[in-house]
Symmetry: C2
Subunit: 247 residues, 2 copies
DNA sequence: CGACCGTTTGATAAATGTCAATTCTAGTGG
DNA sequence: CCACTAGAATTGACATTTATCAAACGGTCG
């Protein structure tokens, strides 16, 4: 419905995620091989990209937009287990079926490869395999970081942790740095935040109101956030204000 | 203190984790190269193997015993973010400092490699790099599975989930299968279970008592557990009794 | 025997969830 | 341009779960 840019003839060399995605380490010649087998797909906000249990016949990278990985229990309880940002990789070489739902949280563009050709290429291209290992290890660290949030933090700390992650990512994209106020738009609904944090949407709403009342954040509308003091926000998150390690 | 078997001259070919560890895919000649640089280290229950933030100068595999990865907040709240069983890998090639504490939960033997030689060997041995990627992806899946437990399950479901994981692992080691009663010893104190599940030890204790009262498990002493009906336990864990995917 | 550690159990408090009513906001069609 | 509507978000009252604090138990090791 929404008019999306047609990207099917973009060159890898111009790609916005060229230096961070699974292809980051590739030599020009290797990039050429990827270029031949890649194709773009666009998804609208809310669309499910992959259903848990489905056969995965492609893998790919998020080029723009945000996707989420979610698990659902039989009674409907859901937990988001990952947030996929531009350059993040979807799919697992060597695995047949998807272990979680992958849902487009915003409008989304992905750079895809059919699974088999990608696996073949990876088998003979250590630069790709090596980069994928590196990215997977980073994701594992992030997942474990998140386990601390889910297991031990209070609702207020959980909200502060999530805002702090989004704020840091945003600061790193816009290269504005972490000193001075940070301004960004929340890419998630209250319900999506609740699913990420293991809370109800009412608790999310209350804690956001509380952080606002206490001056930790300012809100314009529901989604537009200003963080006047990043150090303060990180204190609220229960993190060491200096020792942040993920960028 | 405790008299531990001296393993320093064991052969890789006899190694109990030969087929599951990072060396699983190695050819005999590659194994020989590992053999040259490997060395064994033993740790007693309770000992901290690596402190968070410390420089990592080795990597390695758990040969026997159990270790845990834990994160600690400034105020002392701790969350276990991983349980390392025999064949699991510790350490990250390409990273200088340890992101979490690694603690020996039981007496432990590890097969270690100094980091630099291992990295060099890995760089020229795709079988190792490939196996490490595979293992890391499995760990990522396990971490995400655990995020659902931490974020959305009740205390009772959390306990049942933990017991079910230990029971399945045990059944797979002893090759007794999942039909019929399963018997095992808990390798964790109540406090360690609490740290893993994001609960207090009191809540752990109460829920174990409740599961016992309801006949889901039997206890002899504090640690020796019998699960008369694995399907029942998995129901209590909130998992689909048939669709378990991790073994 | 006595001290200690891990564990259990009880009473109570605090945090978060649940249910329900409103408010806000963006978009739609008259 | 302006109601009208649907979805998102907020807020309130109350219920439930889990944490906290405290006491006591049981086995093990000196």
């Amino acid at each position: 419905m929404s008019s999306q840019p047609q990207l099917s003839h973009s060159e890898c060399s111009d790609c916005p995620i060229r230096h961070r995605a699974v292809c980051a380490r590739c030599e020009p010649q290797e990039l050429g091989e990827l270029e031949v087998i890649k194709y773009y797909r666009s998804f609208e906000a809310g669309q499910t990209i992959i259903w848990s249990g489905d056969q995965m016949n492609f893998v790919g990278s998020v080029v723009s937009g945000i996707a989420s990985l979610t698990q659902t229990m039989e009674d409907g309880r859901t937990q988001m287990v990952g947030l996929l940002l531009p350059s993040d990789f979807v799919g697992r070489p060597g695995r047949e079926n998807a272990p979680y739902d992958v849902v487009a949280t915003t409008d989304l563009v992905m750079c895809c490869f059919r699974k088999k050709p990608f696996e073949d290429l990876m088998a003979r291209t250590p630069h790709i395999a090596h980069r994928l290992l590196e990215m997977t290890l980073d994701e594992l660290d992030a997942a474990r970081e998140w386990m601390l949030v889910l297991g031990r933090k209070t609702a207020r700390e959980k909200i502060a942790s999530l805002l702090s992650i989004i704020a840091r990512r945003d600061a790193s994209l816009t290269k504005r740095g972490l000193s001075g106020p940070i301004v960004f738009d929340l890419p998630l609904t209250r319900e999506a935040m609740a699913d990420y944090l293991g809370l109800t949407l009412e608790t999310v709403s209350r804690q956001i109101s509380a952080l606002k009342k206490d001056g930790v954040i300012h809100l314009e509308g529901k989604r537009h956030v200003t963080v006047p003091d990043m150090g303060r926000l990180m204190e609220e998150a229960g993190d060491d204000a200096d020792g942040g390690f993920l960028v």
